[in-house]
């Protein structure tokens, strides 16, 4: 079975992002970039399926600026076999990414696509569901467990009330939640090996897709700041303040 894993280059989750003073976006110059954490979980899951003998090949795909190749290298170092980079400077939104991925699926014919449930930069939580729609495939979103059984996949999903299990026919799309696995760190030998693994570079036009954004960002602003309040000296003082000052209990 062939697995496709889309991976996104995002501002590292430890970075405290700053809104640019001109209100056009957030500061990304000189900021540490990493693979979206949910995509790391996706790569890990694919690699585990390969280690179990369920998957035969893992193709990592990234889209965006040329430096996204680094994110593919990370996936290759974790155990993906080869990479595809769709290079563009256009601000790619989930609909465009889903269309580009659909065109790659037409070339690659994977049986399973595992991807992050959400990118921690735009927080859209949309691409997996959109790709599933465009392909006419079923979707198992927010997965905390994935089991391949014959020509289907069973997915345990994290939902508002707890957990839900769904059975999907293959090919299918799974999006990862935090509890699916704990991604490995790539070992030094594997990082070296990853340098020799192939990455094919394409442009959106090669895939016949117009990647133009549908949402125009008018402004990006700082949210209202909360002021730190006071420290209380005792539980009794806390309760008194909540009663008489904050009036919330």
């Amino acid at each position: 079975m062939k697995i496709l894993v889309p991976v996104k280059r995002v501002v590292d989750y430890n970075v405290k992002v700053r809104v640019k003073s001109d209100g056009t976006g957030v500061e990304t110059a000189g900021v540490k970039m990493s693979m979206n954490p949910f995509d790391e979980i996706a790569v890990e899951e694919a690699v585990r399926l390969k280690e179990k003998g369920v998957a035969t090949e893992i193709v990592a795909v990234s889209m965006g600026v040329a430096a996204s190749a680094e994110t593919i290298r990370t996936a290759l170092a974790m155990g993906a076999d080869r990479g595809i980079l769709v290079e563009t400077d256009v601000d790619l939104q989930p609909l465009a990414v889903a269309k580009l991925l659909k065109a790659i699926v037409a070339k690659e014919a994977p049986n399973l696509i595992i991807m992050g449930k959400q990118a921690i930069d735009d927080d859209m939580s949309a691409t997996g569901q959109m790709l599933a729609a465009l392909l006419g495939w079923p979707q198992g979103t927010f997965a905390s467990k994935v089991a391949i059984e014959g020509d289907g996949v069973t997915v345990v999903r994290e939902v508002d009330g707890g957990l839900e299990t769904v059975a999907l026919t293959l090919p299918a799309i799974v999006t990862t939640d935090l509890r699916l696995n704990e991604p490995r760190y790539a070992s030094l030998p594997n990082i070296m090996k990853a340098r020799k693994k192939p990455i094919e570079t394409l442009k959106p036009a090669d895939l016949g897709v117009d990647p133009a954004p549908r949402l125009t960002v008018l402004t990006v602003a700082e949210p209202p700041k909360r002021q730190a309040g006071v420290k209380v000296g005792s539980v009794a003082e806390l309760v008194a303040k909540l009663k008489t000052e904050a009036k919330v209990i």
Partner: protein, 311 residues
């Protein structure tokens, strides 16, 4: 302009986040709502009583049981021609279904909106709420999920809308519900509670979460958790508050043994009053707390329970 809101419902009532989505939709124009499920006449009746709803569309068929994304997205697409905006609350169901419907309509979904500027322009948090983007959609149909914490819900009663049956739609059969393992609790739901008390890694075990219970009982609070507490198995996944869990904005949020990582703050920093109990006076949670108590939670929680009992 007419907006259609897909409602989350349970046991014949409409979930509070969906009532917030209805409130958001009312800023856009006339509001119709969609109730889909199997044997859900009671939920449709409840939807008809929501104030300001002009019409309820009821899709009552086995295919819609368990709210699977594939049939629900197909249903929304069939209904879409009558509407300028399709909305749902950004719940597990809304997040699962709406982007799928959007792709089928060739629209870029606008996820988790926290504000409405006009019919095409919306405000949404990005980067774990560290920035607010104002975005304008060029799509002819807007597909939106609504951050419930940002819109006061419409009341549950007061309306009297007509109920109409949805057209039959061919449903794809590629996905099947197998089972659900839902957390049982007598407490209010996290996203609807007036008070939330959350525990973090500092709680040390699932058993210790019992220390929160007498306090939650006294305050009528929901119990939440940080990711670390969920990952460690102290409490189930549906307790997680944060960027990638639930977004809450109660009157009072009490964070116990939680450091205050950006990802956690993203889920609770719009609470009206924040209390933090942490033994580390440098913990970042104190930077957003209205009232901070530097203390060991194992002494502070029993004291707090006793103090609330007394008063």
């Amino acid at each position: 302009m007419t907006a259609l809101v897909l409602l989350d419902h349970e046991a014949g009532s409409i979930k509070q986040p969906s009532r917030s989505a209805v409130a958001a939709a009312q800023k856009l124009g006339e509001v119709h709502v969609l109730v889909a499920g199997a044997g859900v006449q009671a939920a449709a009746d409840a939807a008809a009583r929501l104030p300001g709803v002009a019409k309820v569309i009821l899709a009552d068929a086995p295919a819609y049981d368990h709210a699977l994304a594939e049939p629900l997205a197909a249903l929304l697409v069939a209904l879409a021609p009558g509407y300028s905006h399709l909305l749902a609350a950004a719940t597990a169901i809304g997040k699962n279904v709406m982007p799928r419907a959007a792709a089928l309509l060739d629209a870029q979904p606008i996820s988790d909106i926290a504000g409405i500027v006009d019919a095409d322009t919306f405000i949404r948090p990005i980067y774990a709420g560290n920035a607010l983007a104002t975005v304008k959609s060029a799509d002819s149909k807007k597909v939106i999920t609504v951050r419930a914490a940002s819109f006061d819900p419409v009341a549950a009663e007061g309306g009297n809308a007509p109920i109409e049956a949805a057209p039959a739609v061919e449903t794809p059969s590629m996905s099947r519900f197998v089972s659900a393992e839902l957390s049982k609790s007598e407490r209010p739901e996290l996203t609807a509670a007036r008070v939330v008390i959350s525990g973090g890694r500092g709680m040390q075990s699932g058993d210790n979460f019992k220390l929160l219970e007498p306090i939650a009982d006294k305050l009528g609070a929901a119990v939440g958790a940080s990711r670390a507490a969920v990952d460690a198995g102290f409490v189930p996944n549906d307790y997680q508050v944060g960027q990638t869990g639930k977004i809450v904005a109660p009157e009072l949020y009490v964070a116990v043994g939680i450091s205050g990582a950006i990802q956690h703050l993203a889920g609770m920093k719009d609470s009206k009053v924040i209390v933090a109990i942490n033994k580390d006076e440098e913990a970042p949670i104190f930077q957003v707390a209205d009232y901070g108590l530097v203390a060991d939670l194992f002494t502070a929680l029993p004291e707090l329970a006793a103090e609330l009992e007394r008063s």
